[in-house]
């Protein structure tokens, strides 16, 4: 059976094509929001590697996101790398930071891990604030536009299209990983470390890998965020950013690929529509979170998958 005949792949292809045509139909403000949705989807997917697949309370996600943004900016502005290499470098920097945070995290669980990783976010923010001429300190730094094939990505549309392409590739990679040896092993270690070890799976390796993957994908999001804004500054990487990412994963559905993406779409788009009504954004945010935790603890996508079992994501590849 040819891959192209798989209805899911066809639907995805049509959806991506439609999304790519979006700028033809809407104003540049909506295009900007669409780009933010993409960025937040990648950020939530990165977050999900540790809190979803591995099932640990890890709150270092904003640090990974920030490292991606700053590493990209420094590689672009100080090292002078072209945009694609700076983006790649930012991902690798995020993966490395993830790995480094993952090492001490092996000895911590539960609340301790949550507090230590939370503190790590604040440490990174302190570093940005005191980054002097390298990161621009409290006021951050402005970036020159990304250049691709000699074309400068300045308009919201051009940035959006690039961000959409990177996001689609990112989501595709995450879903491939979830269906691979590594994805299965991370979920197994998260579910029962002893049972996984009994099958010759080294738990430490997959704990660290989950952190590194979390760092990698969060950092892509961070770099894209810097590109979209055209600057980086410490204020973007505070506690509210962390809460937003956490809410996206929880609302969408922990431990799935579609869930965090769904959460990112909802929690990025909805506040924009509610902006004209004072307070509505906060109310929606809290009501959604509380309501879901009570009535749909596995998130929107988890709830949908329970109703329609064919939606359930597999941890294995296809035979075709």
């Amino acid at each position: 059976m040819s891959r192209m005949r798989d209805p899911k792949i066809l639907i995805m292809a049509v959806a991506v094509a439609l999304l790519a045509c979006l700028p033809l139909f809407v104003n540049s403000y909506i295009v900007y929001i669409a780009a933010m949705i993409c960025i937040n989807a990648l950020m939530a997917l990165g977050f999900n590697f540790v809190i979803g697949f591995l099932g640990q309370l890890v709150f270092a996600n904003t640090a990974f996101f920030g490292v991606g943004a700053y590493a990209y900016s420094i590689l672009l502005m100080h090292v002078g790398l072209p945009f694609p290499l700076a983006l790649l470098g930012a991902c690798l920097a995020g993966g490395l930071i993830g790995l480094i945070v993952g090492l001490p995290a092996l000895r911590l669980r539960g609340f301790e891990l949550a507090i230590v990783t939370l503190a790590f976010n604040e440490l990174m923010r302190w570093i940005y604030l005191h980054s002097g001429s390298i990161g621009g300190g409290a006021s951050g730094m402005g970036l020159r536009p990304a250049t691709l094939f000699g074309y400068e990505l300045i308009s919201d549309t051009s940035k959006y299209l690039m961000i959409l392409v990177v996001t689609v590739i990112g989501i595709w990679m995450v879903s491939n990983i979830a269906k691979s040896t590594a994805g299965r092993a991370i979920v197994a270690v998260g579910a029962n470390e002893f049972a996984a070890s009994a099958l010759s799976i080294p738990p430490a390796r997959y704990n660290i890998l989950a952190f590194a993957l979390s760092g990698f994908f969060s950092a892509i999001a961070g770099a894209l965020f810097a590109i979209l804004l055209g600057r980086v500054a410490p204020e973007s990487f505070g506690l509210n950013q962390l809460l937003l990412g956490f809410a996206m994963v929880m609302v969408g559905g922990l431990g799935t690929v579609a869930g965090p993406v769904l959460g990112a779409v909802l929690l990025t788009a909805a506040p924009e529509f509610l902006r004209s009504i004072p307070g509505a954004e906060e109310i929606l945010f809290s009501v959604l979170l509380i309501g879901l935790l009570i009535f749909m603890p596995s998130g929107l996508f988890g709830g949908l998958a329970a109703l329609f079992p064919s939606l359930r994501e597999r941890h294995r590849g296809k035979l075709s």
Binding site: W172, M173, N176, I177, K179, S180, T181, A182, G183, R184, A185, V187, A188, A191, N192, F194, A195, A196, S197, A198, L199, S200, I201, P202, P203, L209, R314, H315, R316, G317, L319
Partner: protein, 253 residues
């Protein structure tokens, strides 16, 4: 008969409690050795000592002549020590085939980067892993259930999946902790046949079990534990007529 597993004066100490004390016996390749004893006798702890889940207070565990002491669980498993758990060892939110594929970690690993980018080599290896998993499920006659979530299976079927999963990578020693709990009598019969067949293929089997009919039917030898100590060892016939055993164990049930 070649010795596969040798326990040499193995002791395990929990704060103030000697859960296993000075236990020695051997299991040969292709031999089925049952470990029986009353609740709290230290049977599961003995498995944990062999598999590296708890530290030995003293003594040695030799596997194929090599000391296992102090090595991490996953290395001991990779050396061929495979087990099922008394409870909680399955990934209930995964399907049957996904559970088995977790067990293929050692023999069918797929490199991360290739998998992330869906390179042809990775896709081929994933297909091979799926086919291998199906083959294993077919051996136990549960291939029809491959896409069922573990939590939706009967406890008997769950046990079968756990055994398949444990055997997904080459096992030299299989430790089964009360595999007959929750099984129908038909399933116990099936298990009986499967164990004998596995032993014929040369795997050494350690079986902790309260279902004595199964124990007496499959075992080449029986070790009786009581309060952490080895009370007796012998053929099923000898154990059945051993007065100390009757007193400590059979008398209670």
């Amino acid at each position: 008969m070649t010795v596969q597993l040798e326990l040499d004066a193995v002791s395990v100490q929990f704060a103030g409690l000697k859960a296993v004390s000075d236990v020695s016996f051997t299991v040969a390749k292709g031999e089925i050795c049952a470990v029986i004893g009353p609740n709290g006798a230290g049977k599961s702890t003995l498995f944990n000592a062999i598999g590296g889940y708890v530290r030995l207070a003293s003594g040695r565990v030799l596997f194929g002549g090599e000391a296992l002491n102090g090595r991490p669980i996953h290395e001991i498993a990779a050396a061929g020590v495979r087990r099922t758990f008394q409870n909680g060892g399955l990934f209930l939110d995964m399907t049957v085939i996904e559970n088995v594929m977790v067990g293929l970690h050692q023999t069918h690993p797929i490199p991360l980067v290739g998998a992330a980018l869906a390179l042809p080599s990775a896709r081929r290896r994933e297909r091979e892993a799926i086919e291998k998993a199906r083959e294993l499920l077919a051996l136990m006659g549960i291939q029809e259930q491959e896409d069922v979530l573990l939590r939706n299976l009967s406890s008997g079927q769950q046990r079968m999946v756990e055994i398949v999963r444990a055997l997904a990578s080459p096992a030299k020693l299989l430790m089964l902790d009360e595999p007959a709990v929750g099984l129908t009598s038909l399933e116990v019969q099936r298990l009986d046949g499967i164990l004998k067949q596995l032993a014929r293929s040369g795997i050494a089997i350690l079986l902790v079990e309260h279902v004595l009919d199964l124990v007496m039917s499959v075992s080449d030898k029986v070790v009786v534990l009581n309060s952490g100590e080895r009370l007796a060892e012998g053929t099923p016939g000898e154990i059945r007529s051993n007065p100390a055993v009757l007193e400590a164990y059979l008398g209670h049930s």
